[in-house]
C-alpha cells in the first residue's frame, strides 16, 4: 500500500490553453471579445452592427462558434471581414483549443479587434474561459424577466451586457429597467445597454463604452 501525492488541477489543460491564446493575441496586438448569450438572443446581430460601425477605423476579424452550421459566419462575411467558422459538433460551448485552431486561420498580423461568437448558451460558456480580453453577454427581452436572476455565474463575470429587442419590451411585459437593477445587484461595474439588433439602436453607446479598450 502506498500513497502517491498528485496535487494537480483537473482543469489545468483548459486554463493553460486559454492563457496561451491570450498570449498570442497580446503578441499580435489584438483585443478579443467573447460574445455570449442564449440561442437567438442577438449575438450575431450585435456583432454585425459592431463590425459595421467599427470596420472603417479598425481591422476586424471574427470567429463564429456553432454546432454544425455556418449561418452566423455567412452573415458576418457580408461585411467583408475575415471570418472563420468553428464547429463544436455536439458540444454546447467553445473551448480554448478549438478557438486557437480557428484564430490561427485568421490573418492575425492584419487584425486589431477579434470578435468570437460563442455557442448560444448562458451556462457552459461562463465556465470555459477562451483567453479573451473582455466578455460581452447579450440577453433579450423575449427570454423573459428572469435571465439575469437565473444566471448569476454568467452575468457577474462579464464586462458588458446588452439587452436586445428593447422594442418588444411592452409586448413581452418585461422591464428593461428591472433587468438593469438585477445586474447591478451582482455586477454593478458592468455597463448595461438596451439595444435593437435590427435597427442598431443603442450600439453606439456600447461602442462609446468599449472605446477605452480600443
Amino acid at each position: 500500500m502506498k500513497i502517491v501525492e498528485i496535487e494537480e488541477s483537473a482543469l489545468k489543460k483548459g486554463k493553460e490553453l486559454a492563457k496561451e491564446n491570450k498570449k498570442l493575441l497580446d503578441e499580435k496586438g489584438i483585443i478579443a471579445f467573447d460574445v455570449m448569450g442564449s440561442v437567438g438572443s442577438g449575438k450575431t446581430s450585435l456583432i454585425k452592427w459592431l463590425v459595421r460601425k467599427l470596420k472603417n477605423r479598425y481591422k476586424i476579424g471574427m470567429v463564429a462558434g456553432d454546432l454544425t452550421t455556418e449561418f452566423d459566419a455567412k452573415r458576418i462575411e457580408e461585411e467583408h471581414i475575415p471570418v472563420v467558422q468553428a464547429h463544436t459538433g455536439r458540444v454546447c460551448h467553445l473551448d480554448p483549443g478549438l478557438v486557437r485552431k480557428a484564430i490561427l486561420n485568421l490573418p492575425l498580423d492584419n487584425i486589431d479587434i477579434l470578435f468570437i461568437e460563442n455557442v448560444g448558451n448562458l451556462i457552459c460558456p461562463a465556465a470555459v474561459p477562451l483567453g479573451v480580453h473582455k466578455e460581452i453577454v447579450v440577453t433579450s427581452v423575449t427570454e423573459g424577466p428572469y435571465m439575469i436572476k437565473k444566471h448569476p455565474y454568467m452575468f457577474q463575470r462579464v464586462s458588458y451586457v446588452a439587452i436586445n429587442k428593447i422594442d418588444l419590451q411592452e409586448a413581452m411585459n418585461v422591464s428593461v429597467e428591472q433587468l438593469k437593477e438585477d445586474l447591478k445587484e451582482i455586477n454593478p461595474d458592468a455597463p448595461i445597454f438596451g439595444i435593437n439588433g435590427i435597427t442598431g439602436e443603442g450600439v453606439d453607446k456600447l461602442i462609446q463604452c468599449m472605446s477605452f479598450q480600443l
Binding site: 502506498k2 483537473a10 482543469l11 489543460k13 451556462i123 457552459c124 465556465a127 463575470r157
Partner: protein, 122 residues
Amino acid sequence: MHEFSTVKNIVEKVTEVAEKEGAKEITRLEIELGELTLLEEEQIRFWLEMMLSQTELGKSTEVVLNRISGVIQCNICGYKGGLETTGMDHYFPILKCPKCESHDLKVIEGDDCIIKSLEIED
C-alpha cells in the same frame, strides 16, 4: 455540466501515475472539488466511478470527494473569508465582499478541482 470531460482528465492522469508506479490497483482516490467551479458533486462521483470501473486498475477504487468552500480576499477592505449567497434563491455564491459589498475581489480558494492523491497496491 463539464463533469464528463473533467473526469476524463482525472482518470487519464491517475492511470498514468498509477502505471508509472507499477500499481496493481488503485484502492483510493482523493479529489478536492471547489464550490466555485460549476461542477456538480454527484455527477463527478457518478462519472468517476463509472470511468474508473472500466480501467484495469480502477475496478474497486474508493472515491473520496472533499468539497472546498470558496474563500476570497477583498481588494478594498481586506476581508478574507467565505462568500454569501444572495436572497436570489439559488445556490451559487455571489462574488461580492460580505463586509463591504465590493466586487473587487481575488479568489483564494474554491475555484478548482484538484487531484489530491492516490492510494495504490503495488
